[in-house]
């Protein structure tokens, strides 16, 4: 059984406890998207204080770039291309990249997920995918709500 599957099972038993502002593990601090930055790309003191620590974030899994990858983009709102309001894909500024130990199981991009892992801050370009990120969660596990 993979760790994420274990978390899914745990979540099933404690599902009623999973709501914004809490974590399945009460000791794990919860970081909200709107708490990430003070303004623009200036990180908040809260975010900086959690660098290198295990955190939980809640959001949506953007459709992965290709199958069998070990990372996904976590977004505040479902990552969509609105036919009437967008003519091109508009990536939000406040996305977070989650790196997992195993290939990911894709969750539909409109389903909320709780992601837990180590917060890593700073510019980083993935040597394999060339994907650039400023905020990452590594060793990420996730459960669908």
């Amino acid at each position: 059984m993979q760790r994420r599957d274990l978390l899914k099972l745990l979540s099933f038993g404690t599902g009623a406890l999973m709501f914004p502002g809490t974590s399945a593990n009460a000791a794990v601090p919860v970081l909200k998207f709107r708490e990430l930055y003070v303004r623009g790309d200036e990180l908040s003191d809260l975010t900086k204080s959690l660098d290198g620590k295990i955190v939980q974030m809640t959001g949506y899994m953007a459709p992965p770039l290709k199958p069998e990858v070990r990372f996904f983009v976590l977004t505040k709102l479902p990552m969509s291309v609105c036919p009437f309001c967008e003519s091109e894909a508009q990536w939000p500024d406040d996305l977070v990249v989650a790196y997992c130990d195993d290939p990911i199981d894709v969750v539909r991009y409109t389903d909320l997920i709780d992601v837990e892992g180590k917060l890593e801050l700073g510019f980083w370009k993935d040597p394999e995918t060339q994907f650039v990120s400023l905020i990452r969660i590594t060793g990420a596990t996730y459960v669908k709500r």
Binding site: P78, V81, P83, T110
Partner: protein, 504 residues
């Protein structure tokens, strides 16, 4: 003296009605607070006099996607945000714009509209095809060749020809459908920059929407242009001022911002709030502001914008300061463009916050003009699928829980008929212990449409005040809005007079 007589007579009418009301003392509900309040409203309406003067100025507020449930929910949301009773709260335009009608938003080819032909209906007076802007029903969607001979002239073009000042404001891209209907003529709304033009469009000489704005030949051009959409005006070779790792979208090498600056040496171009605040309206004849690469921020997120953005109210106030210097008057469109986007995302909180921001902008506009000589219209282009479910108690949070379904799970007061808030082939989520008032919460939806909730086909409201505003009554076609604005301002005849030298 005539005006004094009118006021005197209307005062006498109210006095007579008050006497009549006193004669109803026998009614058992006579002193009930609701009864008294509504009776006072009656007196207020009896005192209203239709204004049949010429509209010197016309201001059209378009609240994109502002459905009637959005109106009700925003009213409650705004009141509750201030800690007062939400249900009986009154938004600025409900109080200031007394004439109301229902607008039928269907288009020439569709039961449910998009923003392109509905904006066209308001700015040119015709219904047209979904996806097209500033053209008549003769056009074929995405066919550039069909544009020729199908162009419809907008009230902004008329105003410029008649010597008035003009302005457009939007929290969306300024090349987006609603503001584009003031100046563009295109068979496809997505042709916002040359990068999105089709081969057929290029071969047949159709211009992208951003280029049409800069090359606009009506009068001396817009005096005010404020909104988002900067990337459509900058070439791929130009770095964006707000995001150094991003560039413009244009592939033809044109820098439309530089072209605008060269065209208007009496103008000011700004891209952030600091520059915007520094603009002296008295000394500025042309103002061009592009505050985001794409759409401007939602009002709920605006304070965190990297470069800083003015609010819709601040843009409206500055625009009127610039425009009102023209003694001939002005025509201004103010679009709250992102109510629609938040609804598409299934995110009611942001839609309501942007609606409140629009109400604040309306108040600013009303306070800056002479309401006796300014026709102000506030309406929506189309509806959305958000609904208000029963039966929450009075003062229940509008973003809260309304009740419990047969499945024993709570349901929210606000929900959508379709959109991202629906589960795919799964039972609906259990909202027990979920904070549904959170800014990022997506309201539940019935039909899963993950990419975007849809527009709605129900009628929308028109609110109006000022000269000939009383023509907005009953259930009307959306394109009547143009005809009332044109009639009230007499712009078509003023253009004719100008060509013979009678005006200016």
């Amino acid at each position: 003296m005539k005006r004094f007589t009118k006021l005197f007579l209307s005062g006498a009418s109210v006095a007579l009605m008050a006497q009549a009301a006193n004669a109803q003392q026998a009614l058992p509900q006579q002193t009930d607070s609701y009864f008294v309040s509504a009776q006072q409203e009656l007196f207020s309406k009896l005192a209203e006099q239709p204004n049949t003067g010429r509209a010197k100025n016309v201001i059209l507020f378009v609240l994109d996607g502002f459905s009637i449930p959005t109106l009700t929910a925003a009213r409650i949301y705004e009141g509750q945000s201030r800690g007062v009773d939400g249900e009986s709260n009154v938004l600025s335009f409900e109080k200031l714009l007394p004439y109301v009608a229902l607008s039928k938003t269907y288009t020439h080819d569709s039961q449910v509209a998009d923003s392109a032909p509905t904006a066209t209906a308001m700015t040119t007076g015709v219904k047209s095809l979904n996806g097209t802007i500033g053209v008549t029903q003769k056009v074929t969607l995405e066919n550039c060749a069909s544009q020729k001979g199908a162009e419809a002239e907008s009230i902004f073009e008329l105003a410029e020809k008649a010597g008035l000042s003009t302005g457009i404001i939007s929290t969306a891209r300024i090349t987006h459908a609603t503001p584009a209907a003031a100046y563009a003529h295109t068979a496809f709304r997505d042709w916002e920059s040359d990068a999105t033009l089709s081969e057929e469009a290029k071969q047949n000489g159709c211009k992208d929407i951003a280029a049409q704005l800069i090359d606009w030949s009506a009068g001396n051009g817009f005096e005010v242009v404020l909104g988002g959409g900067r990337s459509n005006f900058l070439p791929e070779s130009a770095a964006d001022p707000e995001a150094a790792d991003k560039t413009g979208a244009r592939k033809d090498g044109r820098n439309l911002v530089d072209e605008w600056k060269a065209k208007y040496n009496d103008g000011a171009y700004v891209w952030n709030k600091t520059e915007f605040d520094a603009v002296d309206a008295e000394k500025t004849e042309h103002l061009f502001g592009l505050f985001e690469r794409s759409h401007m921020q939602y009002e709920a997120d605006r304070a965190k914008d990297k470069g800083g953005e003015p609010s819709l109210a601040e843009m409206t106030g500055k625009a009127i300061d610039v425009l009102s210097k023209n003694k001939e008057g002005f025509v201004l469109m103010v679009e709250a463009g992102r109510i629609d986007h938040a609804h598409h995302a299934g995110n009611a909180a942001r839609a309501l916050a942007d609606t409140v921001a629009a109400a604040q902008a309306l108040q600013v506009a009303y306070d800056k003009v002479n309401p006796q000589e300014t026709l102000i219209v506030l309406t929506a282009d189309h509806s959305h699928t958000m609904t208000i479910n029963g039966y929450p108690k009075r003062n229940n949070p509008i973003l809260g829980i309304a009740g419990t379904g047969d499945d024993k799970k709570p349901y929210t007061t606000l929900s959508y008929a379709n959109g991202p808030g629906a589960k795919l082939d799964e039972p609906r989520p259990d909202l027990t212990n979920v904070d549904t008032t959170d800014l990022d919460f997506l309201q539940p939806a019935l039909v899963p449409l993950g990419e975007s909730e849809t527009h709605g086909g129900d009628d929308v409201a028109i609110f109006a005040a000022g000269p000939w505003a009383h023509l907005f009554r009953g259930v009307v076609e959306q394109n009547l809005i143009y005809h009332v604005m044109a009639y009230a301002s007499q712009l078509p005849s003023r253009v004719k007079a100008e060509t013979t030298g009678a005006v200016k």
